[in-house]
Structures are given as C-alpha cells and as structure tokens.
C-alpha cells in the first residue's frame, strides 16, 4: 500500500498538532499514537517518524509498539469496513475459509486496505450472533451464513453501488 502525497502531508501536519499536548516523555508514546489514530484513522509511517523525533527515540521503537498492539492500524481504513468473525462458532463453521475468500477476492491481507481505498479487511472475535455462523459484518450490517459464493455476490453488489455513486459525481 502506497500513501499518496496528500496523505503523507496530512499525517505529518495532524501529528505535529497533536504532539505539543504531551510533555514528551517516553511513556507518552501510546497515548500519542492513540490520539493520532483517533484523528487519522490509522498510524502511517510519516506520523511514526514525527512521534519518534518528538520523543527522542528511533522510528523503529515506535514501529515495534505499533505492530505489537492490535489496536493500531498501519493502513488507512477503507470506505467499507469488512469484519470477518473468527469467534469459536464461526471458526467451527469455516470462518477461516470465508476470511480466505475475502483475502483472495480483495487481494489484500488482514489489516490492509485495497489500493482504491474502497475496502479494508479485519478479523474480529465473536460479534454475538453465533446461530448465524459464519458471519461477516460490513459497516455494522451482519451478513449471516456466508459462503465463498456469497462473498462474490456481496462484492458484486458493492461494485454496482460504487458504479452508481461514480455516475452521480
């Protein structure tokens, strides 16, 4: 995933606005990163560099922390957030097959976003509707008993919607 020039500039500027709110102790690292993610929706490399310079640590130290915790995203969220449930029931009903289908069709891995920024893929723990396993939640809407064919169908309908939206502009 390549960041656009616009994204790089924005992430640097927004991070610079956040930094002065903190005294610059090493212990401020996680609160700063959380604030950055709150603002940008993810923690891009330029932001990590700014944070590292501010705290006087290496960018690698920041990267270590960002990759350690699941709460931090490295890529921007897509317009549509696809959450594949990997809870116990969904796992037993082939949740990993569904996750693989999404990965294959979108050509991205978990935690990534498609190059057109339309879809981002995440795995989640139980979403609380195990009778409908395996489920995929797209922008808060639960899709029950998903099959690989259903993945294709959902993507097809999204493709139509995107085309329509594109027509309006």
């Amino acid at each position: 995933m390549e960041l656009t020039d616009q994204e790089i500039t924005t992430s640097r500027e927004e991070t610079k606005k956040i930094l002065p709110q903190y005294p610059g102790r090493r212990g401020d690292l996680i609160p700063i990163l959380q604030k950055v993610q709150e603002k940008l929706g993810y923690v891009p490399a330029p932001a990590m560099e700014e944070v590292a310079a501010y705290l006087g640590i290496t960018p690698m130290d920041v990267y270590s922390v960002v990759t350690f915790y699941n709460q931090f995203r490295l890529s921007p969220p897509g317009k549509r957030q696809i959450n594949v449930c990997m809870g116990t029931a969904c796992h037993m009903r082939g949740g990993n097959i569904i996750l693989d289908s999404w990965k294959r069709r979108l050509k991205i891995d978990v935690g990534q976003v498609t190059p057109d920024r339309e879809f981002s893929l995440e795995r989640v723990a139980c979403v609380g509707c195990c009778t409908m396993a395996p489920v995929t939640v797209i922008d808060g809407e639960v899709h029950p008993k998903v099959t690989p064919t259903r993945v294709d169908g959902l993507l097809f309908s999204f493709g139509m919607k995107i085309e329509k939206e594109g027509g309006k502009h």
Binding site: A45, T58, P59, M60, D61, Y63, T67
Partner: protein, 223 residues
C-alpha cells in the same frame, strides 16, 4: 558496598562480585548453563529464551540464572530432571521455528544452538512439535550482512548491538508467531539506513545475520 559473595554451584565453591547474576558467575567459573538471550551489558535481563533454568536449594521452582542475583551461601544445581525438561522443551520450541540447514549455514560449528545441543545432549531435530517454517524472504540488500529471518531465534542480541553501535535500525516487530527482527516499516536493510557496521552479524549467535564473504568470527560459541 561491592563486596564478594561465596556460593556453591554444582558442589563447587565460587566467589564472585556481589550482585552478579548467577549465569555469569557460573560461566566465568567454567560451569556451563545454556543461554541465548542473556547480555552482560544490559542491566535488566530479558529472560526471554527460557534456557538458563537452574535449581536453587530451598526454592520450590527452578529459576532463570540470568535474572537471579547471587547470594551468600546459595546452593545451586545446574542440572536436574526438572531443569533439563524445561530447557529441553524451550530448546525444541526454538528449533520448531528455526530453519535447520546446518550443512549450508554460515554459522555451522559456531552456532549457539549447536553448542547447547552438544552440551545438554539435545537432538538438533524437532520430534514432538509441528515445525513452523515462515518462509520469509532473505534480505540480501546490505553490502555487509545477509539477514535470513527464518533462522532467527529472537534473542535480541542484534537489536541491542544495533542500538549501541549501528543507530538502532533493527528492532522487534509484531507479536507471537508474527514476531520478528526487522527494520522500520519492514524495509530492507539497505533502504532502512543501515550504517553497515556489522555489529549485528558479530552479535548473532545463530546464522540469521551473517557477515558477507567472511565466516562469522565464531560469534555464538564464545559467549
């Protein structure tokens, strides 16, 4: 303040500096304890490799020698059924995600894993566990070192060496099975601003980071 302390390790009386860690007390007196992640220069040991377990009389459980300061009159045994079992399991877990290619490996004969296997009569083979070959790409971009993450045992020696000498280009990323030694953003060494000091290759106890065109100056064996 800095007095000396006398303790017994494997039936031998040993006098060392007060506050010294058990592992170094033993190693300096020619008593071997398996170890990978221990670093004398660090104040706080990681105690991550779980190989240096010893029995201390009066303690209910084995302890890691790298994190245990010596005490006067302490009686230590470096071998027991429990200790060998703990170290053996930790060793096999390490091997299960280490690409075994000793014959072609640059660290052959100077490898810390080979030494541990020899000393403790462990097999250099994974028998009880499933092996995990992550098949990560080898980084050949630096003119000085080659990095094969598939052989990394995550001891952290290279990370510390890089921090002291090479500007802190290397570090840990990820968690669990995904944990690996890498650079900022996962870039290649050449792209990450590696100064080429080679400290990481000198520090690597196995064949993960190796100096190019030169055999490792028996990095692991001496430590």
């Amino acid at each position: 303040m800095s007095g000396e302390v006398t303790l017994t390790i494997d039936g031998r009386e040993i006098t060392v500096r007060e506050g010294e860690k058990l592992l170094w007390a033993a190693l300096d007196n020619g008593i071997y304890i398996p170890h990978l992640c221990a670093d004398r220069k660090e104040e706080k040991p990681d105690a991550a490799c779980r190989l240096c377990f010893v029995e201390i009389e009066g303690r209910p459980q084995p302890v890691t020698a790298c994190s245990e300061p010596v005490a006067a009159g302490m009686v230590v045994n470096t071998r027991s059924e429990r200790v060998d079992r703990l170290a053996g399991t930790a060793f096999e877990l390490l091997l299960s995600s280490h690409r075994l290619d000793c014959g072609k490996c640059a660290a052959n004969r100077s490898c810390a894993l080979q030494k541990i296997a020899r000393e403790r009569k462990f097999k250099l083979k994974v028998t009880r566990l499933r092996t995990l070959d992550r098949n990560l790409p080898v980084d050949d971009s630096s003119p000085v070192v080659t990095y094969d993450p598939n052989k990394c045992v995550l001891c952290g020696h290279c990370v510390r060496a890089c921090r002291r000498q090479g500007g802190g280009v290397l570090g840990f990323a990820g968690r669990g099975f995904e944990r690996r030694v890498t650079t900022f953003g996962g870039a290649s060494l050449a792209a990450a601003g590696c100064s080429g000091c080679g400290a990481c290759a000198a520090a690597c106890p196995v064949g993960a980071l190796t100096a190019k065109n030169v055999r490792l100056p028996n990095a692991g064996a001496k430590r």
